[in-house]
């Protein structure tokens, strides 16, 4: 029966937590580490950048390596097309030793909307190369099925624009994606409040990925905990089965009087 499994399964790996954290935009590494701990997450995204000689302390690897039970998922941000994304993924795998990759390709630096076509091409190539691929995508049910067909471990439709805090503006499309998907559906981007994470989970999402909403909160560590609770609540509610909205009204003239 559906929803029976209690752990999140991604490419043969199991996770107790259904909250994935992004590590960007934190004021400092210590806050980030404490937020990760408070969130209970077991999977965090990281980005690849040039080594900065002037600020070698920016290196995230050392603090992240100390966090037990947390796997890394390098993203491909900065890539303008599939070729660059594949390269970034290979570098990320080399650096992290992790088979996970979040494919994100957003050529427009202002709204950061994902490029569906390049994302598909990169995901296809990387899945064939043995990566556990989680593509960040527009909330498009057709694209989601095509990505499932080429071997992605999950799809990550956006709730709203990255960093926008627009919430689940794509809820109807995400519902359609969930309905026909054989792989986990993870809402990535756009969430602002833990209640939105709870709603995504109630709808049947397998997990949510949150970054800005935690990093940019007044108290990121407390907000990380709040999101963990939101995700847990939403998942528990989904398992419990929501009461449907009240049933339809009865037509004024009978529709079934022809029945014998």
């Amino acid at each position: 029966m559906k929803d029976e499994q209690t752990s999140l399964k991604l490419g043969g790996h199991e996770f107790k937590s259904r909250l994935i954290l992004g590590t960007g935009k934190f004021s400092d590494i210590e806050t980030m580490v404490r937020a990760i701990e408070a969130s209970g997450t077991e999977l965090v995204t990281v980005a690849l950048r040039r080594f900065n000689r002037d600020k070698p302390s920016d290196d995230l690897c050392a603090p992240l390596a100390k966090l037990k039970n947390v796997k890394l998922m390098p993203n491909t941000s900065g890539a303008m097309n599939s070729k660059e994304a594949v390269r970034a993924a290979q570098l990320g795998r080399e650096l992290s030793g992790s088979p996970f990759v979040k494919v994100e390709i957003h050529p427009n630096p202002h709204h950061l909307m994902p490029d569906a076509i390049e994302t598909y091409l990169a995901a296809k190539e990387l899945a064939a190369d043995g990566f556990i691929v989680l593509p960040y995508i527009p909330a498009d049910p057709v694209l989601a099925k095509k990505l499932e067909d080429v071997g992605c471990a999950a799809v990550m439709p956006l709730g709203a624009a990255i960093g926008s805090g627009g919430g689940l503006s794509t809820a109807d499309m995400i519902q359609l994606i969930i309905r026909d998907s054989n792989i986990p559906v993870i809402v990535d981007a756009g969430l602002r409040a833990p209640s939105e994470a709870a709603r995504a989970m109630e709808m049947g999402c397998a997990a949510v990925l949150v970054n800005s909403a935690i990093a940019a909160a007044k108290n990121p560590v407390a907000m990380a905990r709040a999101f963990a609770l939101g995700v847990e609540t939403g998942y528990a509610a989904r398992q419990a089965g929501l009461m449907p909205k009240s049933a339809v009204a009865v037509a004024t003239s009978p529709l079934t009087s022809f029945l014998k």
């Binding site: 054989n182 709808m203 909205k245 529709l255 029945l259 014998k260």
Partner: protein, 368 residues
């Protein structure tokens, strides 16, 4: 006996009773699932036919507008190697057997085209020398020259065979599992290739993998516990929806009646139960076309048109041929709605429903 795969097995939803309030909740389900369907098929839901009909009508209108798609069956052959206990064409029944010669097929297709139909369903019995794959391919080819949407309801075949028919111009495959209840299935199918439950079960998968665009599913109501069959049918559809997400799926609700041969269905389904089933399917599969053939009588069909049902056959003959001249032999089953096309369309229009003859254009075929 091989057990049903997890994606099909209806057992987990069967042995549960539902209260009136649970039925009310199922009626408002936002993302319907097996439990929703089980509730709407339950005895408690029989008291909710009117609100179920209202919900079914609203969903049908939302997804299909005020339209009803029309198609027509053409029986190519009454030869059959099969031994279905309930069928008037079974190999051990004494009946005159015919197979249309290709010239006659062409005449029939011309007659059907002249009536205005653009969707045809070609039927044969189980695979036999008089109506084999080569014959069928010729018939599909002939039909595809003139009719946009050419579906077949024939014997299950291998993927490569389906592919050859799709390449010839076939667009749809209708294949009912008859019953998803294996023990009953085994009893009803007395010999031959049709005894293989799983070979039949996987046939729509092979057809869609082989390039067909549409697949029609169903179970013959009356053979086994309808709740068992309908839950399994729903799960079969959902499985195919998730696997072949490009495919157009339809669901039919053939109800077994008194056939030539005197078969008495062990689990008869009355009109009320049939309507409950159709409403429940519309609520749980809001965007899947639901089909009702001329097996059912005029009053029931008129009532159900637009009320869950959005695809119907009309002016059908279940004898071999019969459109270009009057056939007289026995059909596979008795037609209960023998109205002509004009009369039927007038009825639809009277209910403010638009008959749709063409829903797909053959220009999309890569080959024909």
């Amino acid at each position: 006996m091989q057990t049903l795969p997890d994606w099909l097995n209806p057992e987990p939803w069967l042995n549960r009773t539902f209260s009136a309030s649970e039925v009310r909740q199922a009626l408002g389900a936002e993302s319907p699932d097996e439990t929703t369907l089980a509730a709407l098929l339950s005895p408690a839901a029989a008291d909710f036919l009117e609100p179920m009909a209202a919900r079914a009508q609203a969903l049908t209108r939302r997804h299909f507008g005020r339209t009803v798609q029309l198609y027509i069956p053409l029986y190519l052959s009454s030869w059959c190697s099969g031994g279905c206990a309930y069928c008037g064409f079974a190999a051990d029944r004494q009946t005159d057997r015919h197979a249309l010669a290709l010239a006659a097929v062409e005449k029939e297709i011309d007659a059907i085209k002249a009536m205005g139909f653009e969707e045809i369903l070609l039927l044969t019995g189980e695979r036999c020398a008089q109506a084999d794959l080569d014959y069928l391919r010729e018939c599909v080819h002939l039909a595809a020259q003139k009719i946009h949407n050419v579906a077949i309801e024939v014997f299950p075949m291998a993927e490569a065979e389906y592919r050859s028919l799709a390449e010839t111009g076939g667009t749809g495959v209708t294949l009912y599992q008859e019953t998803y209840h294996q023990e009953t299935y085994d009893r009803m199918h007395r010999w031959g290739p049709k005894k293989d439950f799983f070979q039949r079960l996987d046939a729509p998968t092979r057809a869609l993998a082989g390039g067909f665009r549409f697949a029609g599913l169903g179970a013959l109501l009356g053979l086994a516990d309808p709740r068992y069959d309908m839950l399994a049918l729903y799960r079969h559809v959902r499985h195919l929806q998730k696997t072949f997400w490009r495919a157009g799926l339809t669901v039919s609700f053939p109800r077994i009646r008194h056939e030539a041969g005197g078969f008495i269905p062990p689990h008869p389904v009355d009109e009320k139960m049939l309507s409950q089933i159709i409403f429940a399917f519309r609520i749980c599969l809001p965007d899947v076309p639901l089909v009702l053939s001329t097996r059912e009588g005029a009053a029931f069909r008129d009532g159900m048109a637009g009320l869950g049902i959005n695809k119907m056959s009309i002016a059908s003959k279940t004898t071999v041929g019969g459109y270009s001249d009057k056939g007289s032999e026995e059909g596979q089953f008795d037609i209960s709605d023998d109205r002509g096309l004009d009369e039927f369309c007038a009825m639809l229009r009277g209910k403010k429903l638009e008959p749709v003859f063409k829903n797909w254009d053959g220009v999309y075929r890569l080959t024909a």
